[in-house]
């Protein structure tokens, strides 16, 4: 069974925010919530790097662990989703997440946070696939349409890779070998754990 994962290639990301726009448009994400964001490290300094960040659908997701109403679940493909009908908007998940993925609509009164919203890997929610209810609450279910996440498919430089972990890792490996640098995959160790075996990473390169 495929295990869905994201990889952002910081050597290629040009901070165009195409992924952010694609996500907002595809799912009609409300004001105040960005399921995907582009973060620039050392902004303005020569050699700055940008990465596109969203829910990484962690193997051992901290949001799932802290949710007091147990609204999270993981699909067979490894996508971490949540049931908005069960969510109470407590915000624990947003504090637990190392990527800042869970967000809350900020248009409520008296500090009302509403239901949590996060990247679904374009896999919708627990409602029937492709239904109007699913679309309204979670956005479009592209996986059930045989497509990959809109952000990855729209990426102009193919910096953002999304899909079966083995396939995207192979694509990324080919790139690194071809160009001979830029093997850093920020967030992978945090999201999916350190590699259990295999060769040690090359000197001076991050896992």
């Amino acid at each position: 069974m495929a295990r869905m994962k994201f990889i952002c290639d910081s050597e290629r990301c040009i901070e165009c925010n195409g992924c952010v726009t694609a996500c907002k448009a595809e799912h009609e994400v409300p004001w105040g919530v960005n399921r995907r964001r582009v973060v620039t490290l050392n902004d303005g300094v020569p050699g700055e790097k940008s990465i596109s960040v969203a829910c990484m659908h962690c193997s051992d997701a901290p949001c799932m662990a802290v949710c007091p109403v147990d609204c999270f679940y993981r699909t067979d493909e490894g996508v971490v989703l949540h049931d908005k009908d069960v969510c109470i908007g407590c915000g624990y998940c947003s504090y637990a997440c190392p990527f800042g993925a869970p967000q809350f609509p900020s248009n409520g009164t008296f500090g009302l946070r509403g239901k949590m919203d996060k990247c679904t890997f374009c896999a919708g929610g627990p409602e029937a696939n492709g239904s109007a209810a699913e679309n309204e609450k979670y956005g479009r279910n592209r996986l059930a349409e045989g497509k990959l996440p809109a952000c990855a498919e729209m990426c102009s430089t193919k910096a953002l890779l999304g899909g079966d972990g083995d396939v995207v890792a192979d694509i990324f490996r080919t790139r690194v070998l071809t160009r001979g640098k830029g093997s850093e995959v920020w967030g992978w160790g945090t999201a999916y754990g350190k590699p259990a075996g295999g060769a040690a990473p090359a000197q001076g390169k991050k896992a």
Binding site: E77, D83, G130, E145, G146, K147, A152
Partner: protein, 85 residues
């Protein structure tokens, strides 16, 4: 000891006992059963016209093949370049 005093004392004992065990009737405030709705796997498809036609909706193997092909075709330009004559 008068009968009325004994009655009052026993009444107080009963009230005290009831007060002590009153919390036992409280409903547990922990979630013992999950109320999440079951999700439908993505390979089942949507049954709508928006789905791509390169795979058979409802067939898990076909869906996985579609996911792999789409990732390679759409995201691996090294593969595309190598296939050129």
């Amino acid at each position: 000891m008068s009968a009325s005093f004994r009655r009052t004392a026993s009444l107080l004992v009963v009230i005290g006992a009831c007060t002590l065990v009153s919390a036992c009737a409280e409903k547990a405030q922990v979630s013992s059963i999950s109320v999440k709705k079951p999700d439908v796997p993505a390979y089942r498809g949507t049954g709508t016209a928006y789905a791509t036609t390169d795979w058979k909706q409802g067939d898990a193997a076909s869906w996985e093949e579609q996911m792999r092909n789409r990732a390679v075709r759409g995201q691996n330009e090294y593969g595309r370049a190598a296939s050129q004559p």
